[in-house]
Symmetry: C2
Subunit: 474 residues, 2 copies
């Protein structure tokens, strides 16, 4: 028995096909049973015979029935059909988003209020890229390392802005810092290479490298950056550092230490992974030249990202490999595709080429310097006796150290009460017990300039409240 909606959008043959398929899956036609001859079925329901044949053919393509010349269509053995399931569609979400308490001010690190989308030029470059793609005869998979045009622009820019000395060929575009690490994890296996990083250091890097089978060694920081003496004990190692602006503490690695590290790397068959994540955001002094720029032995792997300079949403980062590593890279990744959409690569190449990238960086620097200076002055004037900010003059965060020793838990709690969120440094410590309880990360990337006065005075209020509470050190 079949029903047909002559008005329906779905053609009659499809209506018949769907009803037949359901009846077959529900076992109405046992294995081997014969379907009504097309002519009869057509007559019975006033369908054209072609409609019936079309429905039968679809069922045959999918293997529900088999047609035998001259004798009609027979149902296949479908006894395995899990009928009860066929019409169940799961209803309830398994992971309802956890309700985050509504925060007024979140000093989270990494998000940006001023970003490339504030730039009309970026929008224009996107459109140009879109039109350019449309004009192509075909769109294709791009080479794994990225579009030559973009890598060429980038090489030129980095030479001027960061002293980086490389060929476009040495630049590998990736889908973000974590993707860069995954590329390195495939160039260097965890069995043969030690992986070392600063303590404290960027936890994202530590976690990802652990997942790729490395057991990160912690090298302690000194006042002026990583302890070279400790690092020099390693050999055949990948040493991940943030020399231009140590994350999270904010120090600049002095030139003498840089030279010692480079010498160590060459002697000990090691590589330095220089993460230059926010070098463009330096406010009251010139950008610090990269470590790569003074490496004469091709022992530095330069890691850059556009997450800070354009937007974290774009998922564009890059590696600059020493030339001796290019051969193995091309061997491993010859079948890979570049994970950055060509659309964005063309847009970015155009953004560089037109000089708009530099303009954008300048505007961005001005914007974040205002925030940087405001917070710094506010603390100097109002909290000088209670809190010290360090790691200043660059990037998008401060380290806040409380003088009276009020700890992590206490302050965080007080903040949550006031609908503020600041962040402990403990995630950045491999040995979390060593993390000072009175230090916090104050990220100002995502709090709009206009809201900054309210945000920092709220911080002040929370700290002063604690003093009044005379809360114990936890």
């Amino acid at each position: 028995m079949f029903y047909f909606e002559r008005e329906s959008k779905s053609p009659l043959y499809q209506q018949l096909y769907e009803q037949l398929r359901q009846q077959i899956t529900e076992g109405l036609f046992p294995k081997g049973s014969k379907l009504p001859p097309t002519r009869e079925l057509a007559a019975e329901y006033h369908l054209s015979r072609n409609t019936v044949i079309q429905a039968y053919q679809q069922l045959e393509i999918e293997g529900y029935i088999r047609g035998t010349v001259g004798s009609g269509y027979y149902v296949e053995d479908l006894s395995l059909f899990p009928c009860s399931y066929c019409r169940t569609q799961p209803k309830e979400p398994l992971f309802p988003k956890a309700e985050k308490g509504e925060m007024l001010y979140d000093f989270y690190y990494g998000n940006l209020d001023y970003n490339c989308y504030q730039s009309k030029a970026w929008r224009r470059c996107l459109l140009d890229a879109c039109d350019w793609m449309a004009a192509q005869k075909t769109v294709a998979y791009s080479e794994p390392e990225g579009l030559p045009a973009l890598r060429h622009e980038l090489a030129g820019y980095l030479h001027v802005s960061r002293g980086v000395r490389c060929l476009a060929d040495q630049i590998i575009l990736t889908g973000g810092h974590q993707h860069s690490l995954s590329v390195l994890a495939r160039l260097f296996s965890g069995e043969n290479w030690k992986f070392a990083m600063e303590e404290p250091g960027y936890n994202g890097t530590r976690i990802v490298m652990q997942q790729y089978g490395f057991s990160p060694v912690s090298v302690p920081l000194e006042q002026d950056g990583i302890s070279v003496a400790k690092a020099e004990r390693l050999s055949h190692a990948l040493l991940y550092i943030t020399p231009s602006h140590q994350f999270p503490m904010g120090s600049v690695l002095p030139i003498a230490k840089r030279l010692e590290l480079l010498q160590w790397a060459a002697k000990s068959d090691s590589y330095i992974l220089e993460d230059d994540y926010d070098s463009e955001l330096r406010y009251h002094s010139l950008p610090i030249p990269s470590l790569q720029s003074i490496d004469g032995n091709e022992r530095t792997i330069y890691m850059g990202t556009f997450s800070k300079s354009l937007s974290p949403d774009l998922r564009i980062a890059y590696l600059i490999l020493p030339r001796p590593l290019l051969g193995i890279y091309h061997t491993i990744f010859s079948h890979a595709n570049c994970s950055v959409p060509s659309l964005l690569q063309y847009a970015l190449a155009q953004f560089f080429h037109s000089g708009e990238y530099q303009k954008h960086i300048n505007a961005m620097r001005t914007h974040y310097q205002k925030k940087h200076d405001y917070i710094l002055n506010y603390f100097k004037e109002n909290l000088w006796d209670r809190a010290i900010l360090s790691g200043a003059d660059a990037g998008l965060h401060f380290i806040m150290t409380l003088q009276n020793g009020f700890g992590n838990a206490a302050l965080t709690e007080e903040f949550e009460k006031n609908k503020l969120r600041i962040y402990s440094l403990s995630p950045f410590w491999n040995h979390q017990s060593s993390c000072p309880v009175n230090q916090f990360l104050l990220g100002y990337g995502s709090i709009p300039l206009v809201e900054l006065p309210l945000a920092v005075s709220a911080v002040r209020a929370a700290i002063e409240q604690l003093d009044r509470n005379d809360a114990p050190l936890r």
Copy 2:
């Protein structure tokens, strides 16, 4: 001795800083030597004293010199400086792009002449997304599995178009098929799980899984798709198949075999990786419902991509995980970022929501059906006695089988002569020796419709030329 360009764009302090830094790195100031007092230097070169101080301070930040209160600035120990290198900038590219012979017609598989950039609506959606991003208070890193809005749209679309039964929570957006595989490689380790795939099958999958430490087992194809009997010998395995349109041979897996595979998977603690890479492109019959749609035991991992339906340049694919796997996914990837730019995710969500995606697919299907039908008819009329096309009615390629047994090398050569490129099937065979020498892959995705008549008649000419040569089977 210093030189200053008063007209230059770079400020005087920077000019002084750069010259001092160079002189220090070149060893003109030995370790511990004292720099001229700021007042003297300022006077000597008619600079303001602040200019000199600013330059000295920059050198101090970078660790070239150390200031001691009251007694001036002293040069640090930089004996390690690799001077000879500091000013060398590599010149020659290491990997000059190999000059591919200029091809007139390339039957390469995977590129698209008709793609999302042909759709004005896609451009509009991109712009909307761009404006939407600009309007946000901040841009942020998105959740690893992708934007809920897009996954919601996708779940709805796949239910209607592919019968897929899933929650938005089960969808994981990735940066392409290879990235999807890398996610799976981290959910299932190569030590504990066997990985099996069709023979012949998609070599991209085989190579990537090998690189992730799996040793792919080959399961032979039969006329109607994978040999279930052979597959059933496996247990605790990941079985990668292309049931709706076997790649490369083009068969449709019959419903009976699908049910047997699903039963096997449930019994043997295995998973079926259903790669539904081009299901939307089926021309003269309805799309084949997905395997996932009849899996009652959550043993199917559905793999989709937008490389065929929108553009390979976009780098957007997705996985649909059975709910029991979501817990482990969230454990492993809690620190990951989604590798698809939010800009594109919003644009795509909008493209779905506005119904434009469906319109685009329809237009695309019409476009490629014209090519499909043209080639098919041309071969029927002109090459019926020499070449057979199989794997028709879907996707973007045919399998061409030569009747007179002319082989791979001979034909490929003849084609190159005529500036045509077709492709052997051998890359898709794990045991390449088993690959029939007279079968070729004819991809028509990237040859413009208007050029198709010329392209196929060129193919005909080459084949006929071979007949005349009466070239032996190689």
